[in-house]
Amino acid sequence: MTDIFFYIFATAALAGALGVVFSRNTVNGAMCLIGTFLSMASLFVLLEAYFLAVIQVLVYAGAVMVLFLFIIMLLDVKESAAKKTSIYTWAASLIGFGILVTGVVAISASESIKNKAPTMPEASGTSLKAFGYELFTTYLLPMQVTGFLLLIAMIGVIVLSKKVNTE
């Protein structure tokens, strides 16, 4: 049962991701991205990480993508005509694809993925309490760093968008 659902949602996530890349209409792209986020959330549910799943929907599908749509509509982005792909893009995509293939092959060939775990390990996102404790003890530094990064991004946006009066 779980396997069937996994394949359904994994396919949906991949299809959505492909839709984001290939659609010429920006709103179509944004909607595909929402579909991908929702499928990802479903995959988290299958892993019993309910908190992560809900946060995924709340933050990404519910807030970030609303902003995306807002910006797309406000700027009224027209369907972009096919651009000629530059040599750098080709090179970058080839390298990226190579790394991806290597990673997938390495992971699927490794021993640990072939042996099924005897029991399902309890994800730290399962219980809210466990999640909170982990976040504020073991992973305190990464969390602080992430927060600081967001602060930098926010200040950066303000600096860039604010017209500086030079006089």
């Binding site: 519910g62 807030a63 609303v66 902003l67 509509m73 406000l74 309490k129 909170g132």
Partner: protein, 368 residues
């Protein structure tokens, strides 16, 4: 009798959805009646069914009350001509009403309607899915409802709906923040040290045996209520419709059943919003502050369960009345006022509220 639990869940879900839809259709009637009372009119008072309407005194009374009005209202949505303008984006134009309604009905899954106490004293919540992250689930799914409005505005491909869609997205983002922060004091209180962490709506309601949260966290309650009005797009926050400026906003191009879906979706959001406010701030199914059903002797069995559901639905209907009362009393805000209220007043206020209650609850937990 053993029934497959999956089928049983389907049956429960069908029952809950039909109750919600019934509530929605009668909420429309209530809206029309209340608006007419407030404006010194009579409201719908002619529609009658052949047999029931013919019963001497009761039939006439029911007809005057407009009890049968939702039936023709619903049929009208079904049978009117469904116009799809030529200039719209067909796919999203048809999707949008569905996206507007589905999240509202999905959130009902985690809303508990009452509790059932077995003879052994075990308390069983009457809810479709008693998930640990209930409150967050509710916020997450209901935040998806805005896509219906935004897509409707965009796909209609004309000026006024487009402006409505943009307004809706901006407003939704602005008020979601304050709404999320305003409930945090409750969660801090419910998740006192030594308890298992929970965001479960049932546990939050059960925690209000004494004080209701509206009583000792009034600022949270007011912020949450204002944000609820904004999130459900109700007047004085119905910027997305705003018929004096935008014809009728995001659903200008919609007709017939598609418009009906938007209409029902708005009321379904209101029903769920009222349920959540009742659960979070008005004590759920506790009849009065400091008085539980158990204390009154109606704790156990079917009677207690029915009473708890009745009290809960009663409070919810009171909240619905409040929604309508406000709608027909206050004028609409200007758009810049909405933004100012959201970002410059409610958000700082909710953060200050959070800090004050955090310190206060910390003091209560450690010093007393």
């Amino acid at each position: 009798m053993d029934v497959n639990p999956v089928i049983l869940k389907f049956v429960y879900a069908a029952i809950v959805v039909s109750v919600i839809m019934g509530l929605c259709s009668y909420a429309v009637l209530a809206e029309r009646k209340i608006s007419s009372w407030i404006q010194g009119r009579v409201g719908p008072n002619r529609t009658s069914l052949p047999l029931i309407g013919g019963i001497p005194i009761i039939g006439r009374f029911l007809t005057r009350l407009g009890i049968f009005q939702p039936i023709p209202d619903g049929l009208k949505f079904l049978f009117k001509e469904d116009v799809v303008p030529a200039h719209v984006n067909k796919f999203y134009f048809i999707m949008a009403p569905v996206i507007a309604l589905v999240p509202a009905l999905t959130t009902v899954v985690v809303v508990p309607f009452g509790r059932f106490v077995t003879e052994a004293g075990e308390v069983i919540p009457l809810v479709l899915a008693n998930v640990n992250v209930g409150l967050l689930f509710l916020f997450a799914i209901s935040s998806l409802g805005v896509y219906g409005v935004v897509l409707a505005g965009w796909s209609s491909n004309s000026k006024y709906p487009f402006l409505g869609g943009i307004r809706a997205s901006a407003q939704m983002i602005s008020y979601e923040l304050a709404m999320g922060v305003s409930v945090l004091p409750i969660l801090i209180w419910v998740n006192a040290p030594g308890r298992e962490g929970t965001l479960n709506l049932f546990d939050i309601a059960q925690a209000q045996n004494g004080f209701w949260f509206a009583m000792w966290m009034p600022v949270s309650a007011i912020i949450f209520l204002v944000c609820l009005f904004a999130e459900t797009n109700r007047l004085p926050f119905d910027m997305a419709e705003s018929e004096t400026e935008l014809v009728s906003g995001f659903h200008t191009e919609y007709s017939s059943f598609k418009f009906g879906l938007f209409f029902v979706g708005e009321y379904a959001h209101m029903v769920v919003g009222s349920c959540v406010f009742t659960l979070l701030f008005l004590g759920g199914w506790n009849p009065m502050p400091f008085v539980t059903l158990e204390a009154l002797g109606f704790g156990e069995g079917i009677l207690g369960a029915v009473l708890s559901v009745g009290i809960f639905l009663g409070k919810m209907c009171g909240m619905m009345f409040f929604f309508m009362w406000i709608r027909w009393t206050l004028p609409r805000f200007r758009y810049d006022q909405v933004m100012k209220l959201g970002w410059k007043i409610l958000l700082p206020l909710s953060i200050a509220n959070l800090v004050v209650y955090t310190i206060f609850i910390f003091y209560l937990d450690t010093k007393l």
